[in-house]
């Protein structure tokens, strides 16, 4: 394990110090060392937008703290849900008096900790409602959508939810729009190599040389098929063949496309893949209105890629276009 760390059990603490030091124009600390907030949060009169999750996915989650995006984030150990206490403290850090929208991903630990945090918040009169992202198509059949994991689609959900909150919507409005966002979003990942949690010191799964794991999860959760790597253009087909029929996306649709590396895949390869994806979408008469190509949601030093598609209506289009500034994503007004 060749890593730039001190004590492997303290990588999160050590990194958070660096993030805070590097981005005082965006981030601020809170009393809970595992909760960061947008430096102007809470904003009075705005619905607070919160997320949280395990570390090792940077720039997710804290990289999406920013104006028009996320107000506060609860930060867990590597690949491990934040505590109920951290979720609760993030709610408090984001609360501007109109309630808090907790937009997070569907993982057992997160579900339990959020549930307990909401109980705690309710006890002192803070209303928190949730949207649970479940965009990862291969993680369960369509008729069990509630079992699907949340993956990079969360980023688009945050972008939409954050912009909606800034527009002044009330809590139910933010929740409804974020729910619509994720309901119209589908993802799939392909893993090309394993990764190592520093405290574990060795990878807890493996992908052989020349092989890929289709449908892999963000923590190396097994996918639906292990097989020899195919050329990029076939990977694009394979990913779209899984994602398109599931919603389904149809000719004439406008979409947002997010191609995210899992960490170690060279960025040029994401562009190779994006080129094919754009080509196939255009052949289906599906128009890309927004696109993101880069390392937006990673899994430490895993090689591989995720594809996320969101079907747009006018509202989602407008909210995705809204300017935003964060470590992980900057949208400039045009």
């Amino acid at each position: 394990m060749n890593r730039i760390i001190n004590n492997p059990d303290e990588v999160v603490e050590d990194a958070l110090r660096g993030y805070l030091r590097a981005h005082p124009d965006i981030l601020a600390a809170t009393d809970n060392p595992r909760v960061l907030r947008e430096r102007n949060a809470p904003r009075a009169g705005k619905v607070g937008v919160v997320t949280g999750g395990g570390s090792g996915h940077e720039p997710a989650f804290l990289g999406y703290i920013g104006e028009n995006l996320i107000d506060a984030v609860a930060i867990g150990e590597i690949f491990s849900s934040p505590t109920a206490k951290s979720f609760h403290d993030a709610f408090v850090a984001a609360d501007g008096g109109r309630g808090v929208a907790c937009l997070y991903g569907n993982y057992a630990g997160d579900n339990m900790n959020v549930k307990m945090a909401i109980r705690q918040a309710a006890a002192h009169g803070l209303t928190v409602k949730t949207v649970v992202a479940n965009d990862d198509v291969p993680s369960a059949p369509k008729d069990q959508r509630e079992k699907r994991r949340g993956v990079a689609g969360e980023i688009l959900m945050w972008k939409v939810g954050g912009a909606k909150a800034t527009e002044g919507a009330d809590l139910d409005g933010v929740i409804a729009t974020a729910q619509k966002a994720i309901d119209n979003t589908r993802s799939i990942g392909i893993g090309l190599s394993a990764c190592t949690i520093p405290a574990a010191g060795k990878p807890n799964f493996s992908i052989a040389d020349g092989m890929m794991e289709v449908g892999i999860g963000h923590h190396g959760e097994p996918g639906i098929e292990v097989g020899p790597i195919r050329p990029a253009r076939e990977l694009a087909d394979l990913m779209l063949d899984t994602v398109l029929p599931d919603l389904p996306f149809a000719p004439g649709d406008n979409v947002a496309v997010l191609v995210s590396g899992l960490g170690a895949t060279p960025v040029m390869e994401l562009y190779i893949l994006y080129d094919h994806i754009a080509e196939v979408l255009s052949s289906h008469d599906i128009s890309i209105k927004h696109h993101f190509v880069g390392n937006y949601f990673t899994s430490l030093e895993m090689m591989g890629v995720t594809l996320t598609l969101m079907k747009l209506d006018d509202e989602l289009d407008r909210l995705l276009a809204a300017p935003a500034h964060s470590i992980g994503m900057t949208r400039i007004a045009r």
Binding site: D9, G54, G76, E77, I78, F79, S80, S81, P82, T83, A84, K85, S86, A108, G109, M112, N113, K115, M116, S139, I197, A199, A200, K202, N204, G217, H219, G220, E221, P222
Partner: protein
């Protein structure tokens, strides 16, 4: 020889922390086979924090369980934080206000903890989780008591059943948690949570047995 004076028994929680720390690597290794290899890390982080919070003596057992539960909830996150956290919180609150722990109170505490754990985790016996240790261990305890065993003997029955329960997970296919997606591939190895739960129940039973008066 059928009850424990709670005011002196906080040390039991320190013993739990010890056994978890001693088995840190082993628990992670089991988790590594079909999970993400961090169960020992997660557990030892939380239990060490709790031990530190309790200090050397450990105080009363009710307060010690509550401290452990609070620390797990506030300190480790993941699934174990809320699951073991509410379990131990419930143990603490059930024992709170009592001077002595007998078989009936112990059973009530464990049932309360189990209920929270199931409410939160939605798992059931056979899903290849820590419930496969906890539920049969508790059943064995209750059965022993119903059969006339004293607290100490019932604790021995619980110890044996915990181990059998833990070992039962070897042949199970995981239905919940990270390992669930492995399907048949998850068969043939122990479940990490079942292993830690066995350590906890056995150590707790032994600790209480040593304190029986």
């Amino acid at each position: 020889m059928s009850s424990v004076v709670l005011a002196d028994a906080g040390g039991v929680v320190l013993e739990l922390a010890e056994v978890i720390n001693a088995n840190r690597a082993w628990l992670s290794e089991i988790d590594g086979a079909i999970g993400d290899g961090d169960h020992g890390i997660n557990m030892s982080k939380g239990f060490s924090q709790a031990a530190a919070a309790l200090g050397k003596a450990g105080g009363g057992l009710a307060a010690a369980f509550t401290t452990l539960g609070d620390t797990l909830l506030g300190g480790i996150g993941g699934s174990m934080g809320p699951l073991y956290g509410s379990f131990f919180l419930d143990l603490g609150s059930t024992l709170d206000g009592h001077a002595v722990l007998d078989a009936a109170l112990f059973s009530k505490a464990l049932h309360t903890g189990l209920a929270s754990l199931q409410d939160l985790g939605n798992a059931k016996v056979g899903d290849k989780t820590l419930l496969d240790t906890l539920v049969p261990a508790l059943d064995a305890f209750d059965a022993a008591v119903a059969g006339g065993a004293d607290f100490g003997a019932a604790l021995s029955a619980m110890r044996a059943a915990a181990e059998t329960g833990r070992d039962s997970t070897k042949d199970l296919v995981a239905k919940i948690g990270r390992a669930a997606r492995l399907g048949e591939r998850s068969r043939g190895v122990l479940d990490a949570g079942a292993a830690s739960c066995c350590l906890l129940l056995q150590t707790m039973a032994a600790g209480l047995q040593r304190r029986l008066t």
